[in-house]
Amino acid sequence: MLLIDCPWCGPRDDSEFQYGGEAHKRRPPAPDQVSDAVWADYLFHNQNPKGLYLERWRHSAGCRRWFNIARDTVSHAVLEVYPADALPSNAAARAVYEQNWRRENEAAANAAAVAETTEIGA
């Protein structure tokens, strides 16, 4: 059982928490403007890396707050616990975010999707 250091309550057993999947996954700001494919990507697709993962957790049996964790999915080591609206400061976690996180280019993806939709419409 993981030991999770809630930013508000301190270290607690993971049975007090609820898992929330991939972190930093931003909802397309204008859903009407994106293609089915882009929307489906947001809706259904999650990264599932073997290794460091940035993920959301909620202290459901405690303070009910959402926050993020940088966790290694192989070793289960928790590298960092950080606020929901922040980026990781741990170097390895930051590197994962910068290099691999597909949401990084989400604006470009949305723009491309709009173009695609327009083309289909035309």
Partner: protein
């Protein structure tokens, strides 16, 4: 009743002043407090205690601890009976009763033992090869296998014992109370760290308790142990737990342990729990779990009387029991000589020691020399090639080993023996280390796996680290305990290691499968699952290269003993068959629990009424007093219907439903989920969460809302009231409240943190009585003089605040029945008073309480959905015909984009329709599948299923709703419902059955 013929005159840690009686397989025996069931049976000369799993050959007591594979017994009877216990771990108490497991009909006459005569038909993979086809026979196979397999019987009655869960946090957890564990505990405790030390057995000290005369710091080892335990127990930060088995080692040093509190007592004191299940979070863990002796794999090595050499020694020295009067010792190492010396000390006859090693390789060892000095006959470079005796070993034949150790040569010598003490070397108990994801490495010299790289904050010491000497265990125990304490943040100096005389031991000779020229005998590797060396070789020959596959195919190591005594032998034989190096074959993974654990221990106090909370409304006493029946709705117990006299459920529900539409009905709606939504952005938030518009809802007005998941599927529904500009009272489905609150919190915290809005669960703060029917207004008017109930002042979907029956109330004019209806909300403490007042005032209107069943019927008559009944997470508002509530002009709301996905727009989606059974008296079964083309037998193309179905007294016939593919295009069509007891037909209709225009809302 015999007295104990194999009990020695002295020795052992038993209470010789008291004799206690016990029954095994119906026979009465005597033993002493301090005995295990196994030691007491041996004291009575009983070796033959069970039969093999597959061949049903006679089996005897094999070991003295948790590794026992043979002596599996069923303890006790009635609700306290427990299967799969190892007789070697069952503490003897007065009046104990036990029976052999895996025998049918009896131990001595076992029908299934014919299996041993047809064993050539039971090779490796027997189950896979035999019980394969036809698959339709599997149910029968399982019955046969279970009967033959003898897995014990679970009790059928409720467990009468109490169990407790314990939670603790420690700096250093030490698993194992042998010399290494005690040394680690002394070192860690001396720093002031919070220390816990667990020992699976009743007594501490491990092997030094029965290894014979050894001195630690100039005192007998046993006295050093007693002093160490006393010292630890006296320290306030130290918890000492005997009879406690660590069962699981999980992530982040989370450890579970089972403490057997009263299992060793015959008459359990009622104030004590039977077992405690500990959940421990440790900063550091020291594993001092010892080692397990391996058997030698020789022909017919499973005959009763053939035991592990260390077990023989333990029975002699710890229990004062002689397992045999004439013992042959068969070994590949020095340690078994300790058993020879122990037997000699007890004046027992040793026929001979048979040592697989050449004399030159063994003679320099201190123990070998001691045996020689005592004149014990030793055959070096010899092997047992055959064993005589069936239900008890009577002797063995030995031959000299040829030079390379793979064949035997020369003349046969016969030895008399009623006990063979065998030793194939030692395997460190790495199970917990392996559970914690530590990796193992192969120690070629000691021929065993030892801990390599730890994954958790853990260190292994003593025999469990492959350090089998007492001096090494003490020294490295102290070091490990000290390092663990320091790593946990404590400070201190490591105590000096106690002085121990060194013992010189020579290396073992690994001969994994003892050669024989006798041919016939089975060479058992896994005694619990009856796997032989030949089975493993057959698996290799059939192409099972991976050890994990071989394990499953042969079932070696898959018994409840998790292969404690068999794994290394099996791996080595597999490696040999594949001509591979042992570590290259790999190891299998050990999984928790380490030993079988009673389900009751996992449950703890969470049984019966404590299993899950029962929620009841403030009006609950009235429902009970007035004959209501109840049903579970989530954790709630809700009034289901109120039968009068001898009414059936159908009669009661019919009466209640008619009354609600002709007079006045009253429903306890307190269980409805209620969430107080407050903040300057509350309206904006609701506008994004619900499918319809909320910005323009006037204060004092209510609106029905539908909530979708981001996938566009209906998630919840309910009426929400605007109490003030920045204040809403949301209601949710009874079962969905917690999930809805989570949902709101998630969007608020993670997606729209800029919106100022706050959520509070107020479900339990408000009691709700819902009155409906043409007389509802007249009734309410009698109890309220400060609320204007006129259509103008309180229209449909209007809200007023005032008093009802003198109680502060919020009155919502909303309706889930289609009738004129008022939901009266009062603070919970007034709920029962409100209800009582309404019932009293309603008497002249013949007010009729109705329960959840009538509520369901009444809403179904109107075609109102219930989320979770008409929906299942795959249903959109469009599927329900509820497009009217989707504000497609709103820029966005949760789930909106998904409604435009191509899949959401398919014409053949399942849509909500009504179904009218051809026979109006027949109520279609809920869940029944609907087909268009009836065929004599499946498969048929299924269109959907019935979601709700009732008899409606108001309609004078049965009604139903269903989700049917392309349903709205099928209005008027006849569909079929194929059922196992006959087919039904129905006509597809609109899903409204009563007052479709909604004219009755105004009374």
């Amino acid at each position: 009743m015999s007295h104990q013929p194999y009990r020695l005159a002295s020795g052992g840690h038993i209470d010789r002043d008291h004799e206690i009686e016990f029954t095994f397989n119906g026979r009465l025996y005597r033993g002493h407090p301090g005995d295990t069931l196994a030691s007491a049976l041996l004291a009575n000369g009983v070796h033959f205690v069970g039969r093999g799993f597959k061949y049903h050959r006679p089996r005897g007591i094999f070991a003295a601890g948790a590794e026992e594979p043979n002596a599996l017994i069923q303890l006790g009877h009635g609700p306290r009976t427990e299967p799969n216990l190892r007789a070697t771990q069952v503490a003897l108490y007065d009046g104990l009763t036990a029976t052999s497991q895996n025998v049918w009909p009896s131990l001595r006459f076992d029908l299934a033992s014919v299996n041993q005569w047809v064993s050539r038909f039971l090779p490796a993979g027997f189950y896979y090869k035999t019980f394969m086809w036809p698959a339709s026979q599997w149910m029968r196979y399982e019955h046969v296998i279970r009967k033959a397999a003898g897995l014990g019987k679970a009790p059928t009655d409720r467990d009468p014992d109490r169990y407790e869960k314990m939670h603790d946090h420690v700096d250093v957890l030490i698993v194992g109370g042998g010399p290494a564990g005690l040394a680690a505990a002394l070192a860690a405790a001396a720093t002031g760290a919070r220390v816990m030390v667990t020992e699976a057995k009743a007594g501490f000290g491990g092997h030094i308790c029965f290894d014979g005369a050894q001195q630690i710091d100039g005192q007998p080892a046993a006295e050093w142990v007693t002093a160490a335990v006393a010292k630890l127990q006296a320290m306030p930060e130290v918890t000492v737990l005997p009879r406690t088995t660590v069962t699981g080692y999980y992530d982040h040093n989370y450890i579970t342990a089972l403490e057997r509190v009263t299992d060793h007592l015959g008459n359990t004191p009622t104030h004590l729990v039977r077992q405690r299940f500990w959940k421990i979070r440790a900063k550091q863990v020291v594993l001092a779990t010892g080692a397990i002796e391996r058997p030698l794999v020789f022909a017919d090595n499973d005959r009763p009387g053939i035991m592990l050499a260390s077990a023989v020694r333990e029975y002699v020295n710890s229990y004062g029991v002689l397992p045999g009067r004439e013992t042959v010792i068969f070994t590949n190492n020095d340690d078994a000589y300790r058993t020879a010396l122990a037997l000699d000390d007890a004046h027992a006859r040793i026929t001979a020691i048979v040592d697989l090693r050449a004399e030159a390789d063994a003679v320099a060892g201190d123990l070998v020399a001691a045996a020689r000095d005592r004149g014990i006959k030793t055959y070096f470079n010899h092997a047992i090639i055959a064993v005589s005796g069936h239900r008890r070993v009577t002797g063995c034949s030995i031959m000299e080993l040829a030079e390379d150790g793979t064949t035997v040569t020369g003349p046969v010598t016969s030895l008399v023996a009623d006990c063979i003490a065998m030793s194939g070397g030692w395997s460190p108990s790495v199970h917990l280390f392996s559970q914690s994801r530590g990796t193992l490495s192969w120690d070629d010299e000691q021929a065993c796996f030892i801990p390599d790289v730890a994954h958790e904050a853990t260190v292994s010491v003593g025999a469990s680290a492959g350090d089998f000497s007492l001096a090494g265990a003490l020294k490295n125990g102290l070091k490990g305990g000290m390092e663990a304490a320091r790593a946990s943040g404590a400070k201190g100096r490591q105590p000096a290691a106690p002085k121990v005389d060194p013992v010189t031991e020579m290396p073992l000779r690994a001969i994994w499968q003892v050669p024989t020229n006798a041919g016939k005998g089975k060479q058992f590797v896994d005694f619990q699952n009856d796997v032989t060396a030949a089975d493993i070789r057959l698996a290799a020959q059939e192409g099972y290269l991976s050890v994990e596959h071989t394990k499953r195919y042969t079932t070696t190591g898959m018994g409840t003993d998790q292969g404690r005594t068999s794994n290394v032998n099996a791996l080595a034989i597999l490696a040999n068959a594949r001509d591979a190096h042992i570590p290259d074959v790999g190891t299998t993974t050990f999984r928790p629990p380490l030993e079988p654990v009673a389900i009751g221990a996992f449950a703890g106090r969470a049984v019966g009424g404590q299993f899950e909370p029962v929620r009841s409304t403030p009006m609950d006493p009235w429902h009970h007093a007035n004959g209501a029946t109840f049903e579970h709705v989530g954790q709630w117990m809700r009034a289901w219907y109120y039968p009068r006299g001898s009414e059936t459920m159908r009669e009661a529900v019919d009466r209640e439903c008619v009354a609600a539409r002709t007079g006045v009905g009253i429903l306890d709606a307190s269980t409805l989920g209620k969430i107080d939504v407050k903040g300057p952005d509350a309206a904006e938030f609701l506008n994004r969460i619900y499918t319809n518009g909320w910005l323009k809802l006037a204060v004092g007005r209510a609106r029905y809302g539908l909530m979708l998941g981001e996938d566009g599927m209906v998630k919840d529904d309910g009426v929400t009231v605007r109490l003030a500009e920045d204040h809403f009272h949301m209601t949710t489905t009874t079962g969905g409240t917690a999930a809805v609150l989570d949902w709101l919190e998630e969007w608020s915290q993670t997606e729209w943190p800029d919106l100022q809005v706050y959520f509070t669960s107020v479900t339990e703060q408000w009691a709700v009585a819902s009155i409906c029917g043409p007389k509802a207004r007249d009734l309410l008017a009698e109890l309220s003089d400060d609320i204007d109930l006129s259509d103008a002042a309180l229209p449909f979907m209007g809200v007023s605040t005032g008093t009802v029956a003198g109680l502060p109330a919020r009155v919502f004019r909303i309706s889930f029945t289609g009738e004129l209806s008022f939901e009266i909300n009062v603070p919970s403490r007034h709920g029962l008073a409100l209800w009582t007042a309404l019932m009293a005032a309603g008497e002249k209107y013949d007010i009729t309480p109705y329960g959840t069943e009538s509520m369901h019927v009444l809403r179904a008559e109107k075609g109102f959905i219930i989320v979770g009944q008409e929906t299942d997470g795959s249903v959109t508002p469009g599927d329900l015909g509820m497009d009217w509530i989707v504000a497609s002009k709103k820029a966005d709301f949760v789930g909106k984009r998904s409604l435009a996905r191509t899949d959401s727009l398919r014409a053949d989606r399942k849509q909500l329709v009504g179904l009218l059974s051809t026979d109006p008296e027949v109520v279609l079964p809920e869940g029944a599948q609907v087909v268009a083309d009836l065929k004599p037998a499946p498969p048929m193309t299924m269109l959907g299923h019935v979601t709700s179905s009732y008899y409606s007294a108001n309609c004078g016939r049965s009604i139903a709703m269903a989700l049917i593919a392309g349903g709205r295009a099928r209005l008027g069509e006849t569909v079929h419902l194929p059922l196992s007891d006959g087919n039904l037909t129905a006509v597809v209709t609109e899903p409204q059955f009563f007052d479709p225009k909604g004219e009755r809302l105004n009374g």
